[in-house]
Subunit: 233 residues, 2 copies
DNA sequence: CAATGTGAATGTATTCACAGCT
DNA sequence: AGCTGTGAATACATTCACATTG
């Protein structure tokens, strides 16, 4: 039920990796690439690259490799970034400001066409090229400007309300920077970038990589089944 | 070879999710939680929660559930966030500034104890509580202040040099916000948060969820094997 | 009795091995 | 000859089913 739409989830997650590397190579004037080469740059095996690209279309030439330009065109088409996703930012605090100034979105196929904040003192001011609008006008803007994706960068307490308003306005996807899970009804999609969680995951990997917690984790995995412990601390 | 250190990777990736939800519940005064409940809040099954927590230690009480406080203590211990990771930010542009102002890191077990930038005009200025230092002093600070984790938020061209300097200085992990893959020698760990990639992944999920590309993806998956195509465009 | 912890069964992703194409 | 695309084999993760515990 979660989704079997042709492209396996892990493959979909790697599409953006492929795209970034391919564009780097194209810039450097490279015209074709072999699966081995691409995989090596990305820390993947050649087989995995071919399987992934196989899910996406038959674009390789045996004995030659893949034409980078065609592959990019295909991936951009699949992700819709060839047509420019119209995007809104909701919540203009520290993070929101950084996002509004992040010029790279444009070249990657996303155009920020509106910014909203609930603080009346911010409404009407500008950040970079963007004028901040009142949350009241969200429905109107989403409709008029064809906005399909929103970035939520409000404080955590305001995030779900913002999401509800966005869903109500007819948005299709939300990228959430507030550190809490958002509830959205299907087929709306919400994904999350939690800076604290990213750091914590890194920290855990560091502890694993440096071997700090090898015994700790093992000790408890293979202990006697249901061994007695007191519920008192 | 990649790592089999007791805790499976997908489980490790969920640890931060568990922690965030558990802390929310603890704040609200909840003392214990059942796997079903926790899973429901996170979009996971009860079995999955129990398997994950089983990898981490035997902290559940049949018929009762898990003591939230103990579970948090355990997860914080595992991730080392109970002792406060000393962290540096390298690159103080839009993103770096947002990170330096992001007060949540502190409560989540990370303390930013230094900020660096290669631009001499920025050196000596302050962002929030943090004074910006010259890159020359990186080795010195890392040593003196016990820095083990760094956040790289430089422009892409400077990111690998920054990473090399950090590795040289003896850092253990890097969280990279620059849109390119960093090479680091083991056991140093580098993970990535690429805002453009996050948006692209969301866009792809939106297209999958809305069914926009069902036929597109399928068409090519089951086509005749190795059908002829010209390499001319 | 109600919930955990865990082997067994299932489902999914990755890797292998090689047929088929240019 | 060299590389892609892909079934078959393997490895891994999730789910099921239930014995075990507080």
């Amino acid at each position: 039920m979660p989704s079997r739409p042709g492209i396996p989830r892990p493959t979909a997650a790697r599409v953006s990796l492929y795209l970034r590397e391919l564009e780097r190579r194209l810039e450097q004037g490279q015209a074709t690439i072999r699966s081995r080469e691409l995989g090596h740059s990305l820390g993947l095996t050649d087989t995995q690259v071919r399987k992934d690209l196989g899910h996406i279309g038959h674009l390789g030439f045996p004995g030659v490799g893949y034409r980078i330009e065609d592959l990019i065109a295909r991936l951009r088409f699949l992700s819709g970034t060839d047509r420019g996703w119209r995007t809104a930012v909701v919540g203009v605090g520290n993070v929101g400001r950084a996002l509004l100034s992040y010029d790279r979105f444009e070249t990657e196929g996303f155009r920020i066409v509106a910014a909203f904040d609930s603080d009346p003192r911010k409404v009407g001011t500008r950040v970079g090229d963007h004028e901040i609008s009142s949350m009241d006008r969200l429905g109107e803007f989403v409709q008029d400007r064809g906005i399909r994706i929103a970035i939520v960068a409000t404080p955590p307490d305001a995030a779900q309300d913002a999401a509800d308003a966005l869903v109500e306005a007819g948005i299709s996807g939300i990228l959430n920077f507030a550190p809490r899970r958002l509830e959205v009804p299907p087929p709306v999609v919400a994904t999350e970038v939690d800076l604290g969680m990213s750091l914590l995951q890194l920290a855990l990997q560091v502890r694993i990589a440096t071997g700090d917690l090898l015994e700790i984790a093992d000790e408890s995995s293979k202990a006697a089944p249901m061994r007695a412990r007191s519920i008192r601390r």
